[in-house]
């Protein structure tokens, strides 16, 4: 297992380097936005990866509630943590791009608001996990993950209607994309997904080790080690 992880990590590092090279030097310059558009190759893959990880979190939470398997809980925890990191990258790179292109850092547009609310929900999920130290944390967290997932479509509709009521600055929706740009984008997405898998895998191993250590420690104190 450990060898597979190392191989995957090396492969990911090469892929990330290649994707970086493609994004900065190979991809054609965008006509109106110029170089700042290249942040797109980091922004969009991060967003896709974050949404993928949040989906993994939901599935793992449901599996945990049904089967009560500690592995599913560890997967849920890890995917939420790494997902929040990727979502933060999305929320930080977005304004950096928006400032020169739209002239504003932030607008309460559908996708921006939805991403922000998703980020808030998952941060509150992590806060709950941090603040709850009983053995029931996985159960509470899994329930909260399901509540968060139920909330997403409602948030979507509320902002969708709000937005159609109050038109916002035009965003580069619709439109076609240069096939070379699409290639670079997909390459970056592949690299970022591999990166996410590597980080999650590592974090998962760490979490399982930590749990084993905690268990051994509490067992030891129960046995009553002689002074």
């Amino acid at each position: 297992m450990k060898r597979a992880l190392t191989i995957l990590a090396v492969f990911t590092a090469l892929l990330l380097a290649y994707a970086f090279y493609e994004a900065i030097w190979v991809a054609p310059m965008e006509r109106t936005m110029g170089d700042v558009q290249r942040i797109f190759y980091y922004h969009v893959p991060s967003a896709w990866t974050a949404f993928l990880l949040f989906t993994v979190n939901l599935v793992a939470s449901v599996v945990y509630l049904i089967e009560r398997s500690p592995k599913a809980d560890a997967v849920a925890l890890v995917s939420a943590e790494v997902g929040v990191v990727f979502c933060t990258v999305v929320l930080v790179t977005g304004p950096i791009w928006a400032r020169p292109v739209w002239g504003i850092w932030w607008t309460w547009d559908l996708r921006l608001t939805l991403t922000l609310v998703l980020w808030l929900i998952y941060v509150s999920y992590l806060v709950l996990r941090r603040f709850s130290d009983s053995s029931q944390t996985p159960k509470l967290a899994a329930v909260l993950a399901i509540f968060g997932a139920l909330d997403v479509p409602l948030v979507y509709f509320s902002i969708w209607f709000f937005r159609t009521q109050h038109p916002q600055p035009v965003i580069g929706g619709g439109g076609s994309i240069d096939p070379r740009m699409l290639h670079v984008l997909l390459m970056n997405w592949l690299a970022f997904s591999c990166f996410a898998v590597v980080v999650c895998w590592w974090r998962y191993r760490l979490e399982m080790l930590q749990r084993a250590v905690d268990e051994a420690e509490s067992l030891e104190s129960l046995m009553g080690v002689p002074q």
């Binding site: 929900i121 941060v123 603040f131 009983s134 029931q136 509540f147 139920l150 909330d151 902002i159």
Partner: protein, 225 residues
Amino acid sequence: MSSLRSITLATLTKDIRLEWRSRDAINSMLFFSLLVVVIFSFSFDPNAEESREIAGGLIWVAFLFAAVVALNQTWARELRNQVLDAYRVSPAPANALFLAKALGNFILVSVLEALMAPLFMIFYNLRALGPAWQLIPVAILGTWALVVNGTFFAAMSLRTRSREIMLPLLLFPISIPAVQSMVEATRIILAGDASARFWIVLLLTYDVVFTTACLALFETILQAE
């Protein structure tokens, strides 16, 4: 079914009787939302036209904060003398307890709203330009949206450190669509410039979805110890 109803009623009447005798929660909520009204009106100093635009937000934010005061008290009474543990080992359905607590909070927050709404009208010189009767379904659905999840998350945060601060941290992100619907519906009704139907339907959907989720998952939360 009859045991569900009788246990719900018994717990609800017990809670209301206790609240009626002490009036701790309602008094602190009333005073708290009065303070919010006064502070908001100093901070914004709006004229009649502006206040119609912002009043929906002010009213609901004040009620949301006041509701958290009540929601945090929901389970505290049952923790003393291990009432909750006794409930756990009894054969009574868990949902009866949840429904009683949610309904109790609903009544409490509704009383608060009924007392505070006229005060808002006076302080902000409000007069609805749209169909004012629609504010009643908005208030009922909105209050239920806040208390149903609030009661549930209050039960969840019982098992955490510093539980008083946990409740808003869990409740507010999930409540964003509900709060937006209440605020928008109220603003539209007060300004009378469009139909608030979409927001009322969205609130109703929110209520149905989360009431179902709470009833389906409360047993898991109650048994978590």
